[in-house]
Assembly symmetry: C2
Homo-oligomer: 406 residues x 2
């Protein structure tokens, strides 16, 4: 018999691997998801023996990942102990590093922010300076929070392409000094825990998806419009990074009526050259305005400055052209407009809507929502927490931690 096995994609492989006796990590997942809330539930769902269930639950209690609570029972007799995910059983740290600011947070195991801070940075100072400051401020935040001994992982995002397997930067356009840098060691020197690093737009997309997945949203495009422009993609319920982690680079897609505008990448008529914060700052400065970065553009719009308003509306239309193509290609249910320039939301979204509804197919726009960020400025840190929690609370990581005896 000639057997051709073509079910070798990662998800199917994981499902195949799951066809083994349930581990402590699997039991944790059932408890965390609420599928099992008693030892009897665990035995029924997994088919494990009473003894095996007790062994695994005890391991999870010892790890602090599960808590046990006696419950009232109306039938008399001893009530079964209720098992629950112990969201206070540790913390994760989140660091969202931008071009000029880093936002830091301490989160519980449910991803809720317990403490947060921000610091000014200049990414041009290079990773040594910037990341040392970030780690120093994280240490302060952790010691103030009083949870220093239960850090379970760190999530970091930066404005560049990252090889997520290694946490090494692959390509940092217009940001020399950050090319091919291993980011995790800056954190593991001080915290001996797993460190996950990704692009800022990817973690923002994770965070926005988490905020909306209960509405059944599995396909979402997060567009960050700030100094630069980039996108994060969730398709089929999963963050899509592409073959080399280079997905979402929409800032350099050409637009039709670009008029030969030169981009900072050297090409012409890129979306960024017409709609990115840096381009708007330049144009407004050239016509005599004093503009303090992207937030300065937003301030001018809010003050009703006609040229700023005109430029942001036009930026929305150029953005709409590129988003319309993305809508036709990947048919998201939700487009989230985030980033600092999206604070001038009304004039920006007006242009986006105008072009998207004109240029995307009828079916793809039928139920399409175009919305502001649900998390605003916190999208980065929440996304970092979501990213690291996805790993450290996975059955595999829980089992590995138990095997190490930690």
């Amino acid at each position: 018999v000639d057997v051709i096995v073509w079910f070798t994609d990662p998800v199917v492989r994981r499902r195949a691997q799951a066809a083994r006796p349930s581990s402590a990590g699997d039991v944790f997942r059932l408890i965390r998801e609420g599928t099992a809330t008693t030892r009897t539930d665990v035995a029924r769902v997994t088919g494990l023996s009473r003894t095996a269930v007790t062994l695994r639950v005890n391991q999870l209690l010892a790890q602090g990942l599960v808590v046990e609570q006696a419950e009232g029972s109306s039938t008399g007799g001893r009530p079964p102990a209720r098992l629950a995910f112990h969201t206070a059983g540790g913390i994760v740290l989140a660091a969202s590093v931008g071009a000029s600011r880093a936002q830091l947070a301490v989160c519980d195991l449910a991803g809720e922010i317990l403490a947060e801070t921000a610091l000014d940075v200049d990414i041009a100072d290079g990773p040594e300076t910037v990341l040392a400051a970030v780690v120093k401020h994280l240490e302060h935040l952790v010691s103030e929070s009083g949870h220093g001994d239960t850090v379970r992982g760190i999530g970091v995002c930066v404005p560049g392409n990252i090889d997520v397997e290694t946490g090494r930067s692959v390509s940092f356009p217009v940001m020399p000094g950050w090319d091919d840098v291993a980011i995790p060691p800056y954190f593991t020197r001080r915290f001996d825990v797993p460190v996950h690093v990704d692009n800022d737009v990817n973690v923002m997309a994770l965070a926005e998806h988490r905020a909306r997945h209960q509405d059944g949203v599995n396909d979402l495009l997060l567009v960050k419009v700030s100094t630069g422009i980039g996108a994060g993609i969730v398709s089929g319920g999963h963050l899509q990074r592409g073959a080399l982690g280079a997905a979402g680079e929409i800032g350099h897609i050409p637009v039709a009526a670009g008029g030969g505008a030169v981009c900072r990448c050297g090409n012409v008529d890129c979306l960024e050259a017409l709609a990115a914060g840096w381009a708007l700052v330049r144009r407004l400065s050239e016509s005599g305005h004093t503009v303090d970065g992207v937030r300065g553009v937003v301030d001018l719009v809010r003050a009703g400055e006609p040229e700023a308003l005109r430029l942001v509306r036009a930026a929305g239309r150029h953005l709409g052209e590129v988003i319309a193509g993305a809508v036709n290609l990947i048919n998201p249910a939700v487009i989230v407009l985030g980033g600092d320039l999206a604070r001038a939301y009304d004039p920006l979204v007006a242009g986006v809507r105008e072009v998207v509804y004109q240029r995307s197919t009828a079916l793809a726009t039928r139920d399409l929502q175009i919305v502001p960020s649900a998390l605003g400025e916190r999208a980065g840190v929440v996304g970092c927490a979501v990213m690291v929690l996805e790993d450290v609370l996975s059955p595999r990581s829980v089992d590995a931690a138990l095997a190490r005896g930690t």
Copy 2:
């Protein structure tokens, strides 16, 4: 304790459901993938008792999904029986329905074609006429193949948007009579088996991914250039249909130097208006050529007709502009150019390459492959077989069939 469960996406849910005692379907998966080749393997991997393993394996043998072969043993004693996926344990039928031709195939359970045929159709005749002819020819093909009693499922693709849950057509642009039609009943009237229906480009993408996934390709864009233009997307190892099954509609993305060309959708400067077969046929006809459809355009190119060559090269550049945007957005590892116009491969791909390498980011094009279809004309039927096999051989379907006693 406030538990926030945000791991509710479909894949994680399936993984959670897998944390139960292994079913016959799970055992089949292990055997099919080669993870387990003896009853002892099955017991070790699943943790099932010897009795439970025997029960499940006997069910699979009775179903014809697994075969047992005595194996030679050098240690003397009775050798363990080897268990293998019985790829000859049934057939699936595949019907790839195009605008003017339908290709039909009988495939084994590994997706290998056992018999095939094609018929001329005119999709404008409507579903009643076209699908009746398809079913009649499928019946002939099955009876000739001598496997009529073991049909396990049917895969169908059509050139329009399909709600894959119901097999109902959602939107058939420029194809009146096919809107909101339930396609499976045309097949189940004659064959009482599961029928899966999808868009032609989606099944082509499945087929091309299957042909390449052993090289580690998880991100692939299939671009079909024929009478119309559409794309199928595999991201992260999975076919991505988008929120409403409308993903891949790249034919109506505007191109920059379109010159106001009017598209059949009524909009201007759509990719199709400059690069689709219908547009090239029209232009060549207008300048006095006799052109018999898209294949006629390819014939003119092969005969060295200068205008046809010029038009196909220009079509490649327009196509390259849209593909460059898709490369920046989703970062595929492989672009497959399929469809009838891609038979004029060299002039078409020249234009595509020129623009993609000029307009996509350096990282996204670093390892990018742009290749012709690995399956050529058979991509549609192979994709239909892959689609239906993914379902009927899944653990859930195998268990459901056993529960029904079939």
